[in-house]
């Protein structure tokens, strides 16, 4: 069925502003940047996530969508971006995850190859906010020394993240998308889970 919702009100400038925020987010891991176009997102999707989809996806991208989403989202994605929906996470250029507490194992997605590490999956993960999760300290490119963050991601996710980051330059990049804000988590960011570390000392 054809979607009932419009896309960006001002396609060129909204996409450019959103793209700049996404670039900034990856350049400054762990920092929060605004994405707030006047956009009506499909049910179950945040404004920031919808804007990121409209900005990044086109008819050449394969998108994997986590089950549990509204069917209207698929119609909306197909109509406005022309992207292909795939059921194989290994073949996906982008992956849409509805809830930060239920991110699948990162090893299931495409990590790129030694020759083409950029041909990897980029995850768009929706989160409820920025402070309800386990506290994690990030180090790596784009961070002066270290930066503490606590987005609502499961400890399982950080476990998978810690298994992935030593494989650099292979790996996936993650955008965390709240209602109107975004945080980037590139594969260069090494995470140290503080609560886990404290537990180890006892």
């Amino acid at each position: 069925m054809i979607t009932q919702l419009a896309g960006f009100p001002d396609p060129v400038h909204d996409a450019q502003v959103t793209f700049r925020s996404l670039l900034n987010a990856l350049a400054h891991p762990g920092q929060v940047f605004p994405i707030s176009p006047a956009l009506e997102p499909p049910p179950g999707m945040t404004v920031a996530c919808a804007a990121a989809c409209l900005t990044l996806m086109d008819m050449d991208t394969q998108v994997w969508v986590q089950t549990g989403g509204d069917r209207a989202v698929l119609d909306w994605l197909r109509f406005h971006t022309g992207c292909r929906i795939t059921t194989q996470p290994q073949g996906a250029d982008f992956a849409l995850v509805w809830d930060g507490m239920q991110v699948p194992d990162l090893a299931g997605f495409r990590w790129g190859t030694d020759e083409y590490p950029e041909q990897s999956t980029t995850l768009l993960v929706q989160v409820a906010g920025w402070d309800q999760g386990v506290e994690v300290q990030l180090r790596g490119a784009g961070i002066l020394e270290k930066r503490a963050i606590a987005p609502p991601l499961s400890s399982q996710f950080w476990h998978h993240w810690q298994q992935m980051t030593p494989q650099y330059p292979l790996g996936v990049d993650v955008f965390l998308l709240a209602q109107t804000t975004v945080m980037g988590l590139p594969r260069t960011s090494v995470a140290e889970v503080l609560e886990m570390a404290q537990g180890a000392h006892i």
């Binding site: 069925m1 054809i2 979607t3 009932q4 419009a6 896309g7 109509f79």
Partner: protein, 160 residues
């Protein structure tokens, strides 16, 4: 959903009509129901493919400029007839050659109205049938002009 064939016909008629003719006929419809853009008019390129002699291997003729637009009719509370059988609001598509935003918009509105049970008749009579007659007349004029300059090569030696 209406069957594919009539919709193809009216979409082709609307797309091939001249903007002036389309604009003047749509103006005769009076006040149109409210609508909004699902996809505002946008200009792009499409690759046109052809076949040599209509039956050969397909090849790319070249790119052509195309403007497309999708409108959605706003809910019509008076008639309650704003939904199609699938339960969704009526969406009209306009794909026209060239760079005219207005042409794509008008074609999309007419396509949406032609799917509307109340608007079908007036739009069909005022806009589509008129444009079809116009196109037919122009085709005949052109055919006559071509016919007048036709040359028969009687002297060609046709070997079987």
């Amino acid at each position: 959903m209406t069957s594919i064939k009539p919709r193809q016909l009216w979409m082709a008629t609307l797309a091939k009509a001249s903007l002036e003719a389309l604009e003047s006929r749509v103006a005769m419809l009076g006040e149109l129901p409210p609508y909004r853009f699902l996809r505002p008019p946008e200009i792009g390129l499409v690759m046109v493919q052809g076949r040599m002699d209509g039956s050969g291997e397909p090849f790319c003729v070249g790119e052509m400029t195309l403007t497309r637009c999708v409108v959605k009719l706003e809910a019509d509370l008076d008639t309650g007839l704003d939904v199609d059988e699938g339960g969704g609001a009526i969406a009209g598509f306009g794909y026209v050659s060239g760079r005219s935003h207005r042409h794509a918009e008008l074609a999309a509105i007419c396509d949406a109205l032609l799917q509307h049970p109340v608007w079908y008749d007036p739009v069909q009579e005022t806009v589509v049938e008129f444009l079809q007659t116009l196109a037919q007349q122009q085709k005949e004029i052109q055919q006559r002009q071509v016919e007048a300059t036709k040359v028969n090569f009687f002297t060609l030696d046709r070997k079987q």
